[in-house]
């Protein structure tokens, strides 16, 4: 009964949503004088950043990103709060069976490569696809691999939260520096340099690197916290 009702409801909802979006149409510009044209133009001319998405994420709509980072930070905090136990209640990590030696050796080999890839991705965020979020996620994957492979692998919690906090402070601090320098928050106050150089785009790569650190640390923190949870 409940299923039928839900299916009917979702069907109606789906119909209207689909109708709307089909009506909007796919694959052609829907509007004139949108902001995207300005973004595409200014990212090259003003910011000297080749990846427009990055310039939007970090500069045009950098405030969103700050919030986004905060959301992650909050999620980690919330996770800690929700799963908080008094010291004596904290359980051991539960592992169903230990990894084979192929996995352990492979992981050891792969881990530096993964970290390196992650770092590469977030350092080149303003030049190529990718950026802080992607890079941070890749780094966290590396830690996930290690945590899954080695039963007694542990991450220093203090370091994690230090990285997390410092990266966040750096992000906000850079924003404030921009405020002091140019009058608006997150202002790109460093000379943008030349397009397609690694050292270009002013503060954008710096911020994105910070974001990368932060995201990596936070995701690792999430994984670490949840793994230490005994059902």
């Amino acid at each position: 009964m409940k299923k039928i009702i839900v299916i009917i409801l979702l069907g109606t909802l789906g119909f209207y949503t689909a109708h709307t979006f089909f009506d909007i149409g796919f694959g052609f510009p829907h509007f004139e004088h949108g902001i995207k044209d300005v973004y595409l133009q200014k990212t090259v001319s003003d910011l000297k950043v080749s990846n427009t998405v990055t310039s939007i994420v970090v500069n045009f709509r950098g405030f969103d990103t700050l919030g986004e980072v905060t959301v992650l930070f909050l999620a980690v905090t919330a996770l800690g709060g929700i799963l908080y136990k008094r010291r004596h209640e904290v359980g051991e990590r539960s592992v169903l069976f230990s990894a084979s030696s192929i996995v352990t050796s492979g992981s050891k080999l792969l881990f530096p490569a993964i970290i390196l890839l992650g770092v590469y991705v977030f350092i080149h965020g303003h030049l190529s696809p990718g950026g802080g979020f992607q890079g941070g996620t890749i780094i966290a994957t590396g830690f996930l691999l290690m945590l899954l492979t080695y039963e007694n692998y542990s991450v220093n919690h203090t370091v994690l939260s230090l990285v997390e906090s410092l990266a966040g402070i750096a992000f906000a601090g850079i924003g404030l520096l921009g405020f002091m320098h140019g009058g608006t928050f997150l202002q790109n106050f460093i000379e943008p340099g030349v397009l397609n150089n690694l050292f270009s785009g002013g503060v954008i790569p710096i911020i994105y690197i910070m974001v990368g650190f932060k995201v990596g640390a936070e995701l690792t923190g999430v994984i670490y916290t949840v793994l230490h949870e005994k059902g």
């Binding site: 209207y16 949503t17 709307t20 009506d23 909007i24 829907h30 509007f31 004139e32 004088h33 949108g34 902001i35 995207k36 300005v38 973004y39 200014k42 500069n59 045009f60 709509r61 950098g62 405030f63 969103d64 700050l66 919030g67 986004e68 905060t70 959301v71 930070f73 909050l74 999620a75 905090t77 919330a78 800690g80 709060g81 929700i82 908080y84 136990k85 008094r86 203090t158 939260s161 230090l162 997390e164 906090s165 410092l166 966040g168 402070i169 906000a172 601090g173 924003g175 404030l176 921009g178 405020f179 140019g182 009058g183 608006t184 928050f185 997150l186 202002q187 790109n188």
Partner: protein, 494 residues
């Protein structure tokens, strides 16, 4: 000028990132820093509000891109008033809970204050921002802080409440994103003022569907019926001050969002009537549910939902008087309902289930708290000479001026219901004998100060409403003037 609106967001964020580090230096700092931040925000908002009331709204751009491109924050009389209110309430909640958490371990305490601060920051962000996607981000910040705070006490059914909240919140964000995307696909911009100025170019059907998605998404946070299933649970299970924060802060911000959409962004004439309709339904359902509650906080929660319904009715009138009344009610509700939550949570402090019957005879043990609860109850049902009366009067006057006699009658009938359940509790506090063996807990010094402050405010506004009406008039005029808003934001050349 002591600062700009962006500091409302940045300072707390910086502090939030710093708190884990500071906690390593000196544990007490995790309690103190949020308070300092909130105090700073209050000073800032009061100063800015004074400035704004004289010189007109402040529009702050971020990253140096003028509005259609970058994100902007708008600190006008309307949003400024709400920010001041929110920050003020936040500071009081901090003071109230400062010692409240003494008996909690260091780790959770750290998280509690951090999350509380972020809850307030998120709400401030919702109110200040001039960009619909940015508003989504702030709604999520508020949401996640809210989920975590709801589930703060591990001993209770708090996780259940929090999960319900999260589930609905998650669905809300889905609809919010859909709505944003429909709008974006039509006008190619995310800036509120820009959207508002281009709204007439959108085909009506898109307008309506995106509005429906918006109202659903924000309605979940704003507790409109039938989207408010989470609210009573969350209010009940969250720590007392957090319940007050939901009632006094989060809901206010969400209502602000709805109002901003209805008044500024969309130009749907039916939206006003729709607000009245859902406001009334919410009011009736919530108040009638409240009368049969067995738990104190749950009753307060339903009452709070009902009050929000009333606020929505007032906003739905679409007149300046209506807005004035709605703002007045928001103010009063924030003050009074917080007082009720504060005092109420001490009345049932040590009981397990927080049943209403456990307040029996509390007046002998907690005289001041009981008195303040009674004051709050009298004020919230709108008895003169307390604060609630003036807002109710202005609301009804506005309704009468819009010729909505039926609504007046309905609202008044529901008020009688409200009166009944509040009186029942007050009667229990004063005229029943204590049965339960639970020890009443004396309020801490901080809590007493906060409650007395709120009580004094109720009396001050009750006896001298002019203290606040000037600001409210300016704020409501500000909201009504949509063209000015668009002009202020878009004409900014930087």
């Amino acid at each position: 000028m002591v600062g700009t609106p962006v500091l409302f967001i940045v300072i707390p964020l910086l502090a939030a990132f710093l708190i884990p580090l500071l906690g390593m230096l000196w544990k007490e700092l995790v309690r103190i820093v949020p308070g300092l931040v909130l105090a700073y925000m209050l000073v800032l908002s009061v100063n800015l509000l004074n400035h704004v009331l004289i010189y007109g709204p402040i529009v702050e751009v971020i990253a140096g891109w003028r509005p259609p491109l970058g994100i902007n924050l708008v600190f006008s009389a309307f949003s400024g008033f709400l920010v001041t209110l929110v920050v003020f309430m936040g500071l009081l909640i901090w003071v109230y809970s400062y010692r409240f958490k003494r008996n909690v371990d260091f780790e959770p305490a750290k998280k509690y204050f951090l999350l509380l601060m972020m809850l307030i920051t998120g709400s401030v962000g919702i109110i200040l921002t001039g960009d619909i996607f940015n508003m989504f981000v702030f709604i999520e910040i508020t949401g996640i802080s809210g989920y975590a705070l709801t589930a703060f006490y591990t001993g209770r059914d708090s996780a259940e409440a929090s999960f319900k909240y999260l589930m609905l919140g998650s669905i809300a964000s889905t609809f919010l994103l859909l709505a944003i995307m429909i709008i974006y696909s039509q006008v190619g911009t995310l800036n509120m003022a820009d959207i508002a100025s281009k709204m007439h170019t959108i085909k009506p059907v898109y307008k309506i569907i995106s509005f429906i998605f918006f109202i659903t998404a924000i309605g979940i946070e704003a507790e409109i019926f039938p989207l408010n299933g989470w609210a009573p649970d969350a209010y009940t299970e969250a720590p007392g001050p957090v319940g007050a924060a939901f009632a006094g802060i989060v809901v206010k911000a969400s209502v602000y969002a709805i109002v901003r959409y209805v008044y500024t962004i969309f130009d749907l004439s039916g939206a006003y009537d729709f607000l009245i309709l859902i406001g009334l339904i919410t009011l009736i359902m919530a108040e009638t549910a409240a009368i049969r509650q067995e738990r104190l906080k749950r009753m307060l929660a339903y009452s709070s939902i009902g009050q929000m319904g009333l606020v929505m009715v007032a906003f739905g009138m679409g007149t300046e008087e209506g807005v004035f009344a709605a703002l007045f009610m928001i103010l009063n509700h924030a003050i009074i309902k917080s007082l009720l939550f504060f005092s109420g949570s001490y009345l049932v402090y040590n009981s397990k289930h927080k049943y209403i019957k456990e307040v029996n005879g509390m007046s002998k043990y907690l005289p001041i708290t009981s008195l303040l609860f009674a004051l709050g109850a009298f004020a919230i049902v709108g008895l003169p000479p307390f604060a609630g009366f003036w807002s109710k009067l202005s609301m009804l006057t506005a309704a009468a001026d819009s010729n909505m006699l039926f609504i007046i009658a309905l609202v008044l009938i529901v008020s009688v219901v409200e009166l009944v359940y509040y009186l029942r509790v007050v009667n229990r506090i004063y005229f029943f004998n204590k049965e339960e063996k639970t020890e009443p807990k004396k309020p801490t010094f901080n809590a007493l100060i906060v409650m007395i402050t709120l009580g004094a405010l109720i009396l001050v506004i009750g006896f001298y409403p002019d203290a606040i009406t000037g600001i409210l008039h300016k704020a409501s005029a500000d909201l009504m003037d949509k063209g000015q808003y668009i002009h202020d934001v878009l004409s900014l050349n930087k």
